[in-house]
Amino acid sequence: MAEMTIEKPRRRRVRMSLGDRIFDAVNYTLLCLLMVVTLYPFLNTLAVSFNDASDSLRGGIYLWPRKWTLENYKFVFEEAAILQATITSVLRTVIGTVLTVFCSAMVAYTISRPEYVLRKFVTIAFILTMYINGGLIPTYLLIRDLGLIGSFWVYIWPGLIGVFNLIIIRSFIENLPDNILESAKIDGAGEFRTFISIVLPLCTPVLATVALFTGVWQWNSWFDVFLYNSSYEHLSTLQYELQKTLSFSNASNRSVDFTAAPSQGGLTQVTPYAIRSTMTIVASVPIILVYPFLQKYFVKGMMVGGVKE
């Protein structure tokens, strides 16, 4: 498993037939087209976010701003609500990810121990939840009864451990060489010591994958904010603020009349379109900066669930 890589050195071909060349040309064109379709909307949003807001309404902005400005970003970052939401997003991402990674790894370690008496019970208890769940309303009522509504912890506790994470960490631990764990035991380390000082460091690749999945999920969440904390403004998140701007305009972007009320300065000209584009960029940049560097880890993580010899 560990030796599997996506890119295998390909067989070298010396001669290329005409058919091969045509195939390659079509193939490369299609793949370039895919990249354009994937990236264009994003680059366009980026251009709009750096373009003068009222100028953007005239349309015709493609990949480059027509009238450069930082006003949109200034507006977004000076808006107290958005700033607060960004802080909450960062907090839930950091705290949620750290707790999820640690707790999932701990449970995964216990169910990877063949001698553990409760191993089967714990494993099945977790796996069953993939098949059956209470659904929206019962969960909502439970969260309400637990007093988690209007609390920051409603972002952390309900999603603490995911079964998929548990499974990929478990398979990783099971593939570690046995003698490492055994020698730790012989040296007199208890289970918890072994877990902290030996298993955790060895699991860095899989933990990076889980951290990425959890971090992205936490950062991107908006539904739990909407469901539980929509009337608690100080607990709003960036994605939820963005979602609210989406529901302003329904089917169309720019035709909506919206008199921007610049909170400071008076001269700032903003439109929902410009704000939305700017917030979209702010909400995506952290992810774009992180995921390419973890690519080799998450590709392996997905493969654990996919193909096994």
Partner: protein
């Protein structure tokens, strides 16, 4: 797993597959380890108290957050009034279920759910396999890696961001209308999201845009497992690119395709929640509204808890049966290539 827009949905397919594997190994271990007598069991429990302390608190967490809500299913058989206690609720049996199946809106929602999950299934498979095959034919490794990295990007963006981007693209002033006008294909700008009948197509395009790259991972992994000597032999026999794809690559990943396809049938009622909710509007709701949105609208917006719970019980029970059947089928047909 979580609430309605299950964040782990995209992994669920693989989770269930894993679990077959898991269950199997557990069984074998359990047979060996099964405590003979309670005394031995408790002795072991005390001996392994460190492991117990490391896992049991999370089992308690699991019971509170995952199993306790199942008790709430009783609401579906009551005329639930939030102010009353459990013992004071009025029990109505299957009344809400009967109502649902006579309700035109619910039947439309069911149709939308099935259509969209089928679109998701078919389109998801075809595009991901095609892209994986195309990527596999790229010999320029840097180019290949760049395409892969770019194609993963939309998967990591939230649906909120994706929906915003999709709306901008489909806007009357957006790039698609712009292109169509310039090519003189249309005279009047089209309000894409305002045409109900087009929603399914837009939904299909959106999910492909977002996840096609991500979905190739497992197929590319399967392709690397194909014995390279097969290709060499084919080359000697004079097979070209297409023939090699058709006779070696595709059959090589067939077990993976079969198993994933069967697995996905288990998710026939899971058409997702976020794209429909975020791209839906008053004009296309006849086509965009699915089961999850129905549950949300009745439950949270209209406080009709009982009806909402009845709809979600229906969904969970059908999904459970489908998953169970799918899992067993997959196990039987998966051959030894998987797991």
């Amino acid at each position: 797993m979580y609430l309605i827009p299950q964040p782990a949905d995209r992994f669920a397919r693989r989770e269930t597959k894993m679990d077959n594997n898991l269950m199997l190994t557990d069984m074998s271990v359990a047979v060996k380890q099964k405590p003979r007598g309670l005394k031995r069991f408790f002795k072991l429990l005390i001996q392994q108290r460190a492991l117990v302390l490391m896992s049991v608190p999370f089992v308690i967490w699991l019971f509170v957050f995952r199993y306790m809500p199942i008790w709430g299913w009783t609401i579906g058989f009551q005329n639930f009034k939030p102010a009353k206690s459990f013992w004071e609720q009025e029990w109505v049996g299957f009344y809400h279920f009967e109502f649902l199946f006579g309700d035109e809106r619910f039947l439309r929602v069911l149709r939308n759910t099935l259509v969209m999950s089928t679109i998701n299934l078919v389109l998801g498979f075809v595009t991901a396999i095609t892209l994986a095959l195309l990527l596999n034919e790229v010999r320029h490794l840097v180019f290949k890696r760049v395409v892969q990295t770019v194609s993963y990007l939309p998967h990591f963006l939230s649906w909120v961001v994706a929906a915003g981007i999709i709306r901008t693209v489909l806007d009357p002033d957006g790039i698609i209308n712009d292109l169509l006008t310039r090519l003189n294909l249309i005279d009047e700008k089209i309000l894409f999201l305002g045409i109900g009948e087009w929603f399914w197509g837009i939904y299909g395009a959106s999910i492909v845009w977002k996840d096609v790259g991500w979905n190739t991972i497992v197929y590319l992994a399967a392709i690397t497992m194909i014995d390279p000597t097969l290709y060499e032999a084919a080359e000697i026999d004079g097979a070209g690119r297409f023939r090699k794809i058709w006779h070696i690559t595709l059959p090589g990943i067939r077990p993976v395709i079969t198993v994933l396809l069967i697995m996905n049938i288990g998710y026939l009622l899971e058409s997702g929640f976020e794209p429909q909710y975020l791209l839906g509007n008053g004009m296309n709701m006849d086509y965009s509204e699915n089961l999850d949105i129905f549950v949300l609208k009745y439950g949270i917006n209209q406080f009709n808890y009982s009806l909402s719970v009845a709809a979600s019980i229906f969904k969970t029970v059908v999904s459970f049966i489908l998953l169970f059947v799918a899992n067993n089928l997959a196990k039987r047909m998966g051959e030894s290539r998987l797991y």
